[in-house]
């Protein structure tokens, strides 16, 4: 059994947001524009968060990227009335874009705010449509789960770059951060600080397996019992 996951080392993280940008390019996430950003409707499968504590000059700022947690017990899945979202056999939580009816129950259910709704037909501008990723991934039943542009009215989210992983499997390329040249998610691929590891949480020889057991490891909102497959390593 495979269980894909990420470990994000916040001590190494530089808050550069290369992961955020790489994700959007890889996955054909549309530009929302000024209004959308203001209304907090812009789509970030991997979104950056910050929180400031303290008073001048004793301030601390905590910053972290938040992909989908690919929860082992995902609250977003059982609420879907049409089975458009599901936990796949490799431990990913995916959305079948051509099955989603846009009821947004899952968005309410997700405690991490990791799901986004397409309020508008995505626009890529006159020129920028040229760099769209042509990859298509369908699940076993033929539904689209990977990165083709999503229509208006459906929910989308991080897939752990399902297209990169499925392609590597087909081509027999090694997968995971522990392999030199191993295929990983777009965020892990670009992270200049080598802060993000991608791999199989079930594989004792993987980076993510080892790091997820590090004494600095923690998960977001652990007490909710969602059991995220994304781990963080604390600063310091």
């Amino acid at each position: 059994m495979v269980r894909w996951g990420l470990v994000i080392d916040l001590d190494k993280c530089t808050a550069c947001q290369a992961c955020v940008v790489a994700c959007r390019v890889e996955n054909n996430v549309p530009i929302g524009g000024e209004e959308e950003v203001r209304k907090e409707r812009a789509i970030f499968w991997n979104q950056f968060f910050s929180e400031i504590h303290g008073e001048y000059p004793n301030v601390r700022l905590h910053m972290f990227p938040r992909p989908c947690m690919h929860c082992e017990d995902p609250p977003c899945v059982p609420v879907c009335p049409v089975d458009a979202t599901y936990k796949d056999k490799d431990g990913r939580v995916l959305v079948r874009y051509d099955k989603c009816i846009g009821c947004r129950y899952c968005m309410v259910a997700c405690p991490y705010g990791a799901r986004y709704f397409n309020w508008f037909t995505p626009e890529y501008g006159e020129g920028h449509g040229n760099h769209l990723n042509p990859d298509v991934v369908r699940d076993g039943e033929g539904w689209i789960v990977g990165p083709s542009p999503r229509p208006r009215g459906v929910v989308e989210k991080c897939t752990l770059c399902v297209q990169r992983i499925e392609r590597a499997k087909e081509e027999g390329t090694p997968l995971g951060s522990e392999h030199e040249g191993g295929v990983v998610s777009a965020c892990a691929q670009t992270c200049p600080a080598f802060a993000i590891s991608f791999g199989d949480l079930e594989d004792p020889s993987s980076d993510v397996y080892r790091l997820s057991k590090d004494k600095r490891a923690f998960r977001l909102l652990e007490d909710l019992g969602t059991r995220p497959q994304v781990y963080y390593l604390s600063e310091g």
Binding site: D9, K12, T14, A15, C16, Q17, A18, V20, V21, A22, R24, V25, I31, G32, G33, R38, A42, F48, F49, S50, E51, I52, E55, Y56, V59, R60, L61, M63, V82, A84, K99, G102, T121, P122, Y124, G127, H128, G129, N130, H131, L132, P134, V136, V137, R138, G140, G142, P149, P151, R152, G153, V154, E170, Q189, T190, C191, P192, F194, A195, G236
Partner: protein
């Protein structure tokens, strides 16, 4: 009942059909057909990965571009490129939005009036105009039935204008009247422009580093004898004391520094300590272990206070200081004159109590950090623009740099290192005719290296004042002995990026001929007479020698990953073509068919060295130059690791062969200028006259130090602009990672990225960070619009002000307002134009006169609520 989207489509319900239409975008028609099975497909007919080099900043990261059916669809890092090891920063990731920007300039453009003048043979009159008003609406595509014809016509117009200027026999006229301003000159491009200027006959290639970070190379020159940025062995240091360098936001080489942050934290025996001295709580400060807030422009004083503690407590590396430095103890020169050593200057002048008063840093902090720094080795003291682009920037940087000598870091593992250059082959110098020789011998337009700006290699930001005959920040009216007749701009946009940039509005009117090579309609290009648009970095051949960092030489090769989308041309090629059109010795100086051929000539040297590796392949195993070039183009990078540490003669290229606390080079330079001045009165001059002239020069530079201290690391008080009583706050500017190089405003995806350190702020607005108490005192709430008013006046004598969104920030000093550079464009495409504010509107044009550099933080301001919301 369960309703699926497929049902919805069958029923014609919802926006199903419209939604599905979007699947057609980018050729996804196949998706409309129901699929029989699952799995991955790309529907691609052809797919390749092409190695090249990023150009979103000067780091020179290796990239690999995924190209599908002729479209570039993803940029990733090149794993074998040592600067980025397969990784990229956010700017590198988004290069495709530069390539596919619909607002690119797609062919050459000319001002209609210029085209007419060219056709009617009245170019001389056009070039004789005293002033010229221009708007982008005057620009027309250069006529021509084909792209080649358009380019031929454009080049002929350019050559005709430049020929007239070059060959004018009127007194004071000639090729020196051409100013060639340039910015991101990577690899051989800077030298190529130098070559063009030499062949044409102008001393006026004016690069933009005097508004960038020139303070650092000057500090390295004064103390180590070489004028370049320094590398640092970050991976092996255990303590980083960083003054005003935005390590994680704007310092270069970006991706390398981001990786270094990781390697300083984890996967090593000791977690390095990072202390950030900064005027604001930046992302860099937040990710450091400690933030030391400091009053703008006083970084040098803090460094000297730290030195005081280290020396006083005898914590310095005495053996290193003895063996590798000059001027630490009191000394006697060969003429028998006594000189005070730096040690005694520091002990006398920079007691922590005094330094605390200047910097606002508590005495305990100075003492503690000094002890930590001196006892946690190897340690690095580094500094960048926050410390160096100040009125006292060069001395600040010298003082910071000197801390490395105290703890024995230079040239050693875990310390500052000097970058080695790649072994490129030289090519014969440009051929010069009489015109070129006469023009090249004229004094430079920007007064570089004179008594006014002794250390400057260029004074980019001064150009409008020199054109208009307006006083410089030293109150001196400097008028070159000739008029600027032509301005060429390559990868630089002075009308936007110069402090007090409104000075350019009139200055550019006074230049009869303006030509740019920009692929985008930036502010300067909008004022051009002729545009010869470059191809973007993903469409052209261009090498890149890495920004000083790793120490060992690394070069990369940029190549077209897709065919040029439009009728644009590589500026390297265009300079050759322009030279051909100009003919004579200018043409002779450019004997290459194109820029690629020139690059190959230079890179023969790398092949001949037999050293290093191409990608991962040892060069020694490659038999021919053709084989080398083919491998180089495929792999995208050549490098020659490892770095040899402790090469003292290379590390210290000073007269003494040591780190010079007492800078003999600085002494020599200023003494020489003083002598030249004295000679104007009496030749040979008596030494008292030289001393008197030196004193006058220092006076003119606004320096307070005299005697030996001038040549030693010391503190010069910053010169703020504006009365504290009227303008009670400081304004500082900064850069965001996603736009660090200030060129990202036209990239929608970067605009959409929210700042890492502020919640709920979009990049469509310019914000200013202000301390909550300060804001309250002025009746300003978080998110309110706020006026920032500076002492800079407009033509009508009113104070200049800009309206920005106030962000109450606990990380702001109560006396300092901080705002990012990036927005406030009046041109530059649909995503940039007319949005946000440009701080340069209200920044005073203030310098470090010694270095001729722009100071970005001396402006005082006042704020007030602007109403609205």
């Amino acid at each position: 009942m369960k309703l699926t989207r497929r049902d919805a489509i069958k029923l014609g319900v919802a926006a199903g059909a419209a939604a599905y239409a979007t699947y057609r975008l980018g050729g996804f028609e196949s998706l409309l057909r129901p699929a029989a099975s699952g799995g991955y497909s790309s529907g691609a007919l052809t797919e390749s990965r092409v190695a090249s080099v990023c150009l979103q900043c000067p780091a020179g990261c290796g990239i690999v571009v995924r190209v599908v059916d002729g479209r570039a669809v993803k940029i990733e890092g090149n794993p074998t490129h040592p600067i980025n090891l397969g990784r990229l920063c956010p700017k590198g990731q988004i290069g495709l939005q530069i390539l596919y920007d619909p607002d690119r300039i797609k062919q050459p453009y000319v001002r209609e009036e210029l085209w007419q003048a060219f056709q009617e043979g009245s170019l001389s009159a056009y070039l004789a105009a005293e002033t010229r008003d221009r708007t982008p609406e005057d620009l027309i595509p250069v006529p021509g039935a084909t792209a080649d014809e358009q380019w031929d016509n454009a080049l002929e117009v350019a050559a005709a204008a430049l020929r007239l200027i070059r060959e004018s026999s009127a007194p004071g006229e000639g090729p020196h009247q051409l100013l060639f301003m340039s910015g991101r000159n990577r690899g051989q491009m800077g030298g190529f422009i130098d070559r063009f200027c030499a062949a044409y006959g102008t001393p006026n290639h004016i690069g933009h580093s005097s508004i960038c970070a020139d303070g650092s190379p000057m500090a390295h020159w004064a103390t180590q004898g070489w004028k370049a940025y320094s590398g640092y062995d970050w991976d092996n240091t255990n303590y980083l004391l960083c003054f005003g360098g935005a390590f994680l936001e704007a310092w270069r080489p970006t991706t390398r520094l981001l990786r270094a942050h990781g390697t300083m934290r984890q996967g090593r025996p000791v977690r390095a300590k990072i202390v950030q001295v900064d005027v604001r709580f930046s992302v860099t400060a937040a990710k450091a272990d400690e933030w030391i807030p400091i009053k703008p422009g006083t970084d040098g004083a803090l460094a000297l206070g730290i030195a005081h503690v280290i020396i006083q407590a005898n914590l310095y590396d005495a053996a290193y200081v003895q063996e590798h430095t000059f001027g630490f103890e009191d000394w006697t020169d060969p003429n028998g004159a006594q000189h005070v050593g730096w040690k005694n200057v520091v002990l006398q002048d920079y007691a922590p109590e005094l330094v605390s008063g200047i910097t606002g840093v508590p005495v305990e902090t100075i003492e503690r950090v000094a002890r930590e720094f001196a006892t946690t080795r190897p340690a690095i003291a580094a500094g960048e623009r926050g410390a160096s682009m100040q009125t006292n920037g060069v001395y600040n940087r010298i003082a910071i740099h000197a801390l490395n000598a105290l703890v024995g870091s230079f040239g050693r593992v875990g310390g500052p290192i000097r970058q080695r250059e790649p072994p490129l082959a030289s090519v014969p110098a440009a051929t010069q005719d009489e015109n070129a020789i006469a023009g090249g011998a004229q004094p430079a337009f920007d007064f570089r290296g004179t008594i006014y700006y002794p250390l400057a290699g260029k004074v980019y930001q001064g150009v409008p004042d020199f054109i208009l005959g307006k006083p410089d920040p030293g109150g001196r009216i400097l008028v070159p002995p000739y008029r600027a007749k032509a301005l060429l701009c390559y990868y630089t946009n002075p009308l936007y990026s110069t402090p007090d940039n409104a000075r350019w509005e009139e200055a550019i009117r006074r230049i009869p001929f303006v030509m740019t090579f920009s692929p985008f309609m930036d502010e300067t290009t909008a004022h051009a007479d002729l545009i010869l648009p470059d191809s973007t970095y993903l469409e052209r051949w261009h090498d890149d020698v890495i920004y000083p960092s790793l120490g060992f030489p690394v070069v990369g090769l940029r190549q077209p990953v897709v065919d040029p989308l439009y009728a644009t041309r590589n500026t390297g090629d265009v300079l050759i073509q322009l030279a051909q059109h100009l003919g004579g010795t200018v043409a002779q100086s450019f004997p290459w068919a194109d820029f690629l051929e020139f690059l190959k000539a230079r890179y023969q040297g790398i092949f001949a060295s037999g050293r290093g590796r191409v990608g991962d392949i040892p060069l020694s195993g490659i038999a021919s130059f053709e084989g080398f070039w083919e491998t180089f183009a495929r792999e995208g990078v050549w490098s020659d690791p490892p770095y040899a540490f402790e090469d003292w003669a290379f590390t210290f290229a000073t007269p003494s062969g040591r780190f010079e606390f007492y800078s003999q080079l600085l002494h020599e330079k200023l003494e020489h200028l003083a002598e030249e001045e004295a000679k104007k009165i009496q030749d040979p001059p008596p030494s008292s006259l030289v001393d008197q002239k030196l004193d006058q020069i220092l006076e003119g530079l606004g320096l307070t130090a005299r005697g030996d201290r001038v040549f030693l690391p010391h503190f010069e008080p910053p010169q703020y602009v504006g009365e504290e009583t009227v303008f009670p706050l400081h304004l500082v500017t900064y850069k965001l990672m996603v736009h660090a190089e200030g060129r990202g405003a036209n990239v929608p995806l970067l605009r959409e990225v929210m700042p890492s350190h502020l919640r709920g702020m979009t990049n469509w607005d310019t914000w200013a960070e202000i301390h909550p108490e300060t804001a309250r005192a002025y009746g300003i709430q978080d998110g309110d619009l706020m006026w920032i008013e500076s002492p800079v006046k407009d033509d009508r004598g009113s104070l200049r002000r800009i309206r920005v969104r106030a962000r109450l920030y606990e990380g702001a000093r109560p006396d300092t307002v901080a705002m990012p550079f990036e927005l406030g464009h009046t041109a530059y495409g649909r995503w940039a134009k007319g949005m946000g504010q440009n701080p340069n509107r209200i920044l005073a044009n203030q310098y470090d006169l010694l270095g001729g550099l722009a100071a970005f933080s001396p402006t005082r301001i006042r704020v007030s609520p602007a109403g609205g919301g």
